[in-house]
Symmetry: C2
Subunit: 363 residues, 2 copies
Amino acid sequence: MPLQGPGQGKRKPRARASSGNPTLTDVAARAGVSLATASRVLNDSDRKVGAEHRARVLRAAAELDYRTDLSAQAMARGSSPVLALLVSSIDDPYFSAIAEGVVSSAHTHGVIVTIAITARDSARELTSVRTIRGQRPRAILVGGSRIAGNPHTDALLAELRAFADSGGRAVFLSQPAGGLGAVRPANAAGARDLGTAIARHGYRRAAVVTGSERLETVTERTEGLRRGLAPLGGGIAVVESDTFDRSGGYRSTRRLIESGRIGGADVLCAGNDFMAVGAMTALRDGGIEPGRDIAVTGFNDIETAADVTPQLTTVRFPLAAIGRRAADLALGADGPPSQDISVPGEVIMRASCPPRDGAVGSG
Amino acid sequence: MPLQGPGQGKRKPRARASSGNPTLTDVAARAGVSLATASRVLNDSDRKVGAEHRARVLRAAAELDYRTDLSAQAMARGSSPVLALLVSSIDDPYFSAIAEGVVSSAHTHGVIVTIAITARDSARELTSVRTIRGQRPRAILVGGSRIAGNPHTDALLAELRAFADSGGRAVFLSQPAGGLGAVRPANAAGARDLGTAIARHGYRRAAVVTGSERLETVTERTEGLRRGLAPLGGGIAVVESDTFDRSGGYRSTRRLIESGRIGGADVLCAGNDFMAVGAMTALRDGGIEPGRDIAVTGFNDIETAADVTPQLTTVRFPLAAIGRRAADLALGADGPPSQDISVPGEVIMRASCPPRDGAVGSG
DNA sequence: GGAAGCCGGGATAGCGCTTTCCCGTTTCGG
DNA sequence: CCGAAACGGGAAAGCGCTATCCCGGCTTCC
């Protein structure tokens, strides 16, 4: 038995799982070339490799069913081809439409998308970003409206900025912050256009049913609406807030009806389509027929909007395009890392908001 | 100038990006302990570490804002904490609901979710799985209905099986195959229950509007419906196929109306809720009032189902729960790796399918 | 004809982490 | 009171890649 110097003993190499995946070393060995050559072939690097060797490597890889280990590649290269998407919920047409665009863009960039949901919980949002940072992604996309007075906002922003400082790219899908760039729906302009459109249809007193005013999206839309109504002498008669979803729309409308405060309004403007749908049901339950007794509008043009009765007037945003554009911005080598891109919406007038007597002509 | 032996020259270490992330080595150095100790503290390993050292490491990590590099960790450990989800589209309430459950389960398991979309393109499905395999994920979840006669099916299955053989777990969210386990809605049973329910409401002749019969989901539902209707003497009068979405529902219904083939039916059963919604619009366009002149049913109970007029009778599946369960199955160390779990649905009778004269009593 | 390139290939440092080994101290059990 | 076991800590061997560096053989070009 050979003597071994102290501390110099050969360790037994960790046992490779018998069913482990083939490695590049295996491929190189089978092809009878060096590791370097195999790597060069499989990544078609700049360095040229002779046709003979190239073919051998390719064949060996195919025979072994070789799959590059992305973790190893990421570590060797120092960056991994992933884009992280952070949204409050993926089970929400708004975000899933954006996600679709993001994934599609990422695909064309050859980048993998990882997804984290925050469930509108700002603490979880923070821990998610922390975890995500561990992935050393190329970019982080943050969806979901910023909430005023959020105790974790500063920490989140610091985290994102640190990420950006270490070479990553962070892009918001809502209001930008911390000099970090954003691609987002032009809520204010869209709401203003909607206000203008309904004013021209003859409506003057709006009842607004929306989410918490601490959501920036909410204030942008409400304010935009006010500005759109004003020129023709219209305005917002009353604002009622609740959760930013269907049931919130139902409940707040119900409260408006029961308290009689809905009386002065000729149009009910909901903060989004879900709220609008809930509001319509509440109206019917209260004996008010939407589209006839009072007009109704929403926001976002979810697919349902065209399927409810009466069809819902709303503002359409190209959500998938927004997602795609955000991913492009985050992944593109070119262009300023931080721009604030507002994507305009389009007012879709439908039966829930018919022209009234006294409406301004189309001229 | 010191002589250097051939091939032994000291390479200049690759320049670390000045703004690079702090490494565990940095943490250990700052804490004045070894790499091993730092690692042990940060992963609370079995090995005990003195309180003093522990505290120093923790403090150093916090001060440096250290974030474990997941790729490096994955490589060192030989496996990465990721679950890959493959769906045809994330912008589809069906899949986004499942995805929500998947992500939520993964979160509690401390696992990251990466997502890939296939756009119902089987070639892309295959390449996606190939890429995914490179991530060496713990598990792969495959959504989307299997399509009969798909040329890439064998390759896909082989790929998944190879993945399973090398220690991963693959779970289908639709029909299982290749002995690989699945968690999925009990389409056949749900459809049968729906058939039974509408038969008891007095309906006998169903017109079915659905997707391609090469989709297994479609055949399962149609067949189940037939079995539910039969005991009370009902049956399927006509089947019309088109794309498995809203416009497909519209078009096929339209064709049924124009050809007069809808005549013999007292209920129109759509393959899913989207098709049902499209069908209702087509009916109205054809002068037939859904819910009054003909009953209508859907499948899945998407949120919209309760918002259309008349409210849609459908079969509800707990999609998020299915996603969660699939992820649990794929990530759980326990349990047989491959089971076929059918999650039952619940018939939701609504106004689109009112009881007819001659309906069977509730007794 | 020899110096000065290309060119295709191989050897091999890391990348940042985990984990095995090994070692000096204590703490016990007998 | 001595040997064994337990304990806390450190050194370093990889994990599977990429990319740098080096080399020998051929062209080129004066």
